[in-house]
Symmetry: C2
Subunit: 547 residues, 2 copies
C-alpha cells in the first residue's frame, strides 16, 4: 500500500465504505455486505502518526468490521524497538475504543481464536497484537535487524528450515496435505460465493438494482449539466461558495458521492445539509474526519479503492502538505478522488504566512497524474467539478478562493472551455501584442487591466489557464491557437510561486507572482503589498512591453 502507515488508514477507508454499502443495500433479512477488512501491521505502521489519526477515527465510528494483526516482532531497521518505541500498544488502542487481544503470533490456534473473537466484536475495530520472532528458526539472525532487509543466505536458510521442522533440501516445497486443505477450502468458498450470488440476485433487483448500478456507473457529465447551478454575471461569489452550491446539487444527483472536511466544513463549504452524518456509532454521507488531514487522504484512498463511491475531502490549501503522501498514492494508483482546497492564496488574510499557501499550487502540479484546477470564477467552478467527476482514472484537486470574486462577463470563451485547461477569456479586437496568462482570482483583474491596456494602444489577450494537466491533453493546433508562437511578450499573473510557468511564458516572460512567504493583514492590504492590483499589473505590463 505504499510507505508505512498508509495501509492502516486505507483499510479504515475500505471498512467505512463497506459499512456505507451495508447501510444502503442490506436489509433486516439479507446481509449482502457482511465481510471483514483484514490488514497486517508492523511497528513502523504504528509509529507513523497517520495510524493514530485513522485508529482514533475508526474507534470513534465503531468500525467493527476491521481486523488488524500487528506483527509485534520488536525489530526495526535500526535494531530493537527499544531504540525508539516502548509505548503500551495494548492500552493505546483500548484508549481509541478498539478491541485488543494479545497472542503468540507463532501459535496457529491462538491466531484462529483471536480472529474468531475479533469477528464477533461488532461495535469496535479489532487489533490482534501477535508477538513474533523475526526470521524464526534462523540460528544467527532470529530476532535481529539483520534479517529485515537482506537475504539470510543459503546456509542460514537450510538451518532455519531444519529448526522449524522442514526438509532443508526442498525448495518452494508445498506438502500434499496443504494442497488438500486448500482444495477443500476452495470448494467451501466456491459454495459460499454461489450462495452469495443467489442472495445478491434475490435482493438487489428492481429499484435497488437501479441504485446499485448508479454506484458503479457514473453518468455522463452532460446529463448532469442541467441540474447544476448557473451563476449570474457580475455577482461576487467566492469559488469555495460556488463549489458548495455545486456539491449540494451533485449530492441530489449522485447517491455515491460522499466526503467531508478535516474540521473546516463551514470554511470549505463541504458539508451538505439534509443528508446524514458520520459520527460516533453512525454512518452517513457527510463525514467528519476530525483534524486529521493525512488520515483523511488515506481513508479517502481506501474508500475509492473499495469501489462504488466517489469520495471528496476538504481542507485549506496550506494544509495540503499534511496529506501530500496520500495524494501522491491516489495519483499513482489512479484513484478517482476529489480534493477541495480552499483559502488558496495570501488572500486568506489575517491568519498570516503559516496559513497562506504560496508554493502549494506548484507543488501539487508537480505530482504526476494529479489534475489541478484553479477556476477563475463561480462558473468555472461548476465546470471544474464536472471535470473532476469525468476524470475517472485519477484524482483532481480544486483550488478555491476564500474571498468573493466577480462572475466574469464572457464574450469570448464560455466557462465550459475549462475542460480544455486554458482558453481565451478576453481578447483585443486585432492580433494580440501580449498575452496575459492568469488563474483563479487573478483572472478578473487581468481582464480589467487588459481593457485599460487597450486604451493605451496595447492589444492584450487574457488567457484563463485553470489547469495545466487538462491543457497538455489538447492538440498542438489548439495550443498554438491559444498561445500564438509569434507573441513572445507573455505575462503570468498568479498569487503563488512562478516555478514551472516558464514553460508557457519563457525565460523572458514577465511574472507577477509571489516568490516569498506571505504576511498577516486584511486581504486588500496584501493585494497592494504584493502587487495584485489592476494598477500595479498595468504599470508592470506597460514597462515590460516597452522593453
Amino acid at each position: 500500500t505504499g510507505p508505512l502507515g498508509q495501509g492502516f488508514a486505507n483499510a479504515v477507508g475500505m471498512a467505512f465504505a463497506s459499512k456505507m454499502f451495508a447501510k444502503e443495500f442490506n436489509n433486516a433479512k439479507n446481509s449482502i455486505i457482511d465481510h471483514y477488512i483484514y490488514a497486517i501491521l508492523s511497528d513502523g505502521d504504528l509509529m507513523e502518526g497517520i495510524s493514530s489519526e485513522a485508529a482514533s477515527f475508526a474507534g470513534h465510528i465503531g468500525l467493527g468490521n476491521i481486523i488488524y494483526i500487528y506483527d509485534d516482532n520488536r525489530i526495526t531497521i535500526e535494531g530493537s524497538t527499544d531504540a525508539a518505541f516502548s509505548e503500551d500498544v495494548q492500552s493505546r488502542f483500548a484508549s481509541y475504543n478498539w478491541h485488543v487481544q494479545k497472542i503468540d503470533g507463532h501459535n496457529f490456534y491462538e491466531i484462529e481464536e483471536a480472529i474468531v473473537n475479533a469477528q464477533k466484536e461488532e461495535n469496535k475495530p479489532s487489533i490482534i497484537i501477535a508477538r513474533t520472532r523475526i526470521a524464526k528458526g534462523s540460528p544467527n539472525k532470529e530476532g535481529s535487524e539483520h534479517s529485515h532487509g537482506s537475504p539470510l543466505g543459503v546456509e542460514e536458510i537450510k538451518q532455519a528450515k531444519m529448526n522449524i521442522g522442514c526438509d532443508p533440501d526442498l525448495h518452494f516445497f508445498v506438502p500434499q496435505r496443504v494442497y488438500d486443505i486448500m482444495a477443500e477450502r476452495g470448494r467451501e468458498l466456491a459454495d459460499k460465493h454461489n450462495e452469495w450470488n443467489r442472495r445478491f440476485k434475490d435482493q438487489i433487483k428492481g429499484e435497488l438494482k437501479k441504485k446499485w448500478d448508479t454506484f458503479f456507473n457514473l453518468p455522463d457529465i452532460l446529463s448532469l449539466k442541467d441540474d447544476l447551478p448557473v451563476f449570474e454575471t457580475g455577482k461576487a461569489v467566492a469559488t469555495r461558495s460556488a463549489s458548495g452550491k455545486v456539491l449540494e446539487a451533485l449530492f441530489g444527483k449522485l447517491p455515491n458521492i460522499i466526503g467531508g472536511s478535516a474540521d473546516l466544513a463551514p470554511s470549505n463549504k463541504s458539508f451538505v445539509s439534509g443528508y446524514e452524518e458520520t459520527g460516533r456509532g453512525s454512518i452517513g454521507r457527510n463525514i467528519h474526519f476530525g483534524i486529521r488531514e493525512h488520515a483523511m487522504g488515506a481513508i479517502q484512498n481506501g474508500i475509492s479503492s473499495y469501489g462504488g463511491f466517489l469520495p471528496y475531502s476538504a481542507t485549506f490549501l496550506a494544509f495540503a502538505d499534511y496529506m501530500r503522501p496520500a495524494i501522491r498514492l491516489a495519483s499513482m494508483s489512479g484513484l478517482h478522488t476529489v480534493y477541495l482546497f480552499t483559502h488558496d492564496s495570501i488572500f486568506v488574510g489575517e491568519d498570516g504566512p503559516t496559513h497562506q499557501p504560496i508554493e502549494h499550487i506548484a507543488s501539487l502540479r508537480a505530482i504526476p497524474k494529479l489534475t489541478v484546477i484553479r477556476p477563475a470564477d463561480a462558473e468555472e467552478t461548476r465546470e471544474a467539478w464536472l471535470s473532476a467527476i469525468d476524470n475517472r482514472f485519477g484524482p483532481t484537486a480544486l483550488i478555491l478562493t476564500r474571498h468573493d470574486i466577480p462572475v466574469i462577463e464572457r464574450k469570448f470563451g464560455k466557462a465550459q472551455n475549462l475542460n480544455k485547461g486554458a482558453y481565451i477569456i478576453w481578447d483585443a479586437d486585432s492580433d494580440p501584442d501580449i498575452l496575459l496568462i492568469a488563474t483563479g482570482s487573478e483572472v478578473h483583474i487581468s481582464i480589467e487591466a487588459a481593457k485599460k491596456l487597450k486604451d493605451k494602444g496595447i492589444n492584450a489577450r487574457v488567457i484563463s489557464f485553470p489547469s495545466w494537466e487538462l491543457f497538455e491533453k489538447q492538440s498542438e493546433d489548439y495550443k498554438k491557437m491559444i498561445f500564438p508562437e509569434a507573441v513572445n511578450k507573455r505575462i503570468v499573473i498568479e498569487a503563488g510561486i512562478k516555478m514551472g510557468w516558464e514553460k508557457y511564458a519563457g525565460i523572458d516572460g514577465l511574472y507577477i507572482t509571489i516568490d516569498q512567504f506571505g504576511a498577516s493583514a486584511p486581504y486588500k492590504v496584501l493585494a497592494e503589498r504584493f502587487g495584485f492590483t489592476e494598477e500595479n499589473i498595468l504599470a508592470k505590463v506597460i514597462e515590460y512591453f516597452k522593453q
Copy 2:
C-alpha cells in the same frame, strides 16, 4: 507555532535540547540548565498524528521537563468533539509513558497544584487535562463552536463579563491587585535571574566556557576544510556514503551537531559511531527518531529554535513528503537545520514507484528560503555539507544517491564551486554549441556524453548545477558567464520532473527528465528504460542539435 500539532512536537524538541544542554553543562553541584518547557494544547493538536509521534518519542526518552496543559473544551470548528473525537486522552497518554492529571481548567488552585505535581515528576513528560468551557460566561455562546472563530459581539461580551464577576463597562481593565502581584513576582524572578547569572559565571568558565562558546558560535567553514575527507578521483562512492564520512569528521569538530534518522540510519549513513545514543531514558548526539518523519522534522525545529545546536535529520527522499509541513516552517522561521535525503531517484531500484522520488526535488525547490543541494559526486557532497553549515539563517536539504557514482575528474572547475550553485565542470576547447545542464548522479554521464559529442564535432559545455538557490544569489555577470545568452541549445538532464527547469533551458530546451512515476527493477534496467544512459543522451542531443 504554525498549523496544528507542530507546537506539540516543537516543544518536545526544545525539551530534548534542554536535556542535552543539561548533560553537557550541569554537574552534581550546579544545575545551570534546570527549567521546564510549557505548552498549551488544543483538541486539534491531539488529533493530528504528529502529536502521537512526538508523544511516543518523548515518553520513550522520558523527558520529565515537559509540562503540557491540554485545553479540553470539547469544541472544534465543526462543533462538539462528539463529531469526530471520543478517544480516552488520559489512558492514551499513559500508554505513551506520560504522567497524566485531570483537573477543572477554571480552578486556579487545581491548575497550580497540577503544575507543581508535574514539576516533581522528573522521569516522564506531563500532560494536564484541563476541562474547560469555551467562552465561559457568555450567555449564548458558552460551550459552542460559534465562539471559536468569530467575535462574541458587544452585548454578549458585557453579559459574559457580568457572569464571571467583572465590571461590564470596563475595557482592558487590570485590577490594582494584579499589578501588585505581578510587580512582586517580577522582583522574585529578577532575584532568581541574578542568582542564575552568578551560578552560570561560577560554573561556566575555563574549558567549559570555551565549549559553551563553540555551541553558540559556529566556526568559519574555512577552518573546517582541512579536517574533512578528500575523495580520490575515479573512485566509485555513493554520495550518501560520502555524506556519512563528512558527518563523522564534523562530529569530531563540532560538538553541537546532533541528529539522526527516522529508522533508516544504516541506509542514510546518518549514525556516527563512537558517540552516545538517545534511547529509553538516555540522551546522546545520535538520535533514534523512530518511524516518525513528521515529528522528526518538527522536533528538529524545536531543537534549532532552542539554540546552541545544529540538528540534522535523515530519511529517504520519497518520504520528505511526510515531513514537508515541518520543513516549510523551518524555512519560514529561518531555522538552521540540515536534511539528509538519500535514495534520491528511480535508481533506488527494486523498492518501486512508492519509494522512488520523482517530483520531490522540484517540490522542495518550490519552498521559499529552503536551500536544496544535489551534489554530483563525493567531492561536491563535502562542499554541500560546508554550505549547509554556512547557511545559518535557513534550512538546507542535501539530496543524495543510494548508488555508487564516480568521483569526477576536475580539469575545469573545482568542487568548491558548489557554493556558487552552478559551475562549468567540463568544457569544450572552443565556445560551446550547446549546454548540458545536470545535477547529482546525472553529471558524470553528461560528461561522458560531452566527450563523445566532441568527437562528433559538437562542442558541449557541461554545467554541474547542484543548487538553484545558491546560483540565484550570484551576480548577473557570473550567471551569464555560465549560461551564455548566445547558446540557446540547452539540455537538462535530471532523474526527476522537468518542472521549473524551463527557467534555465527555456521553452525550446531539451529535457531528459522523468515526468511519470517510476518502476520496480534493478537500477541499471531502470537507467535503460528511462533513458539515463550515455548512449540515449548522445542520441537525443544529436537529434536536438540538428533541429
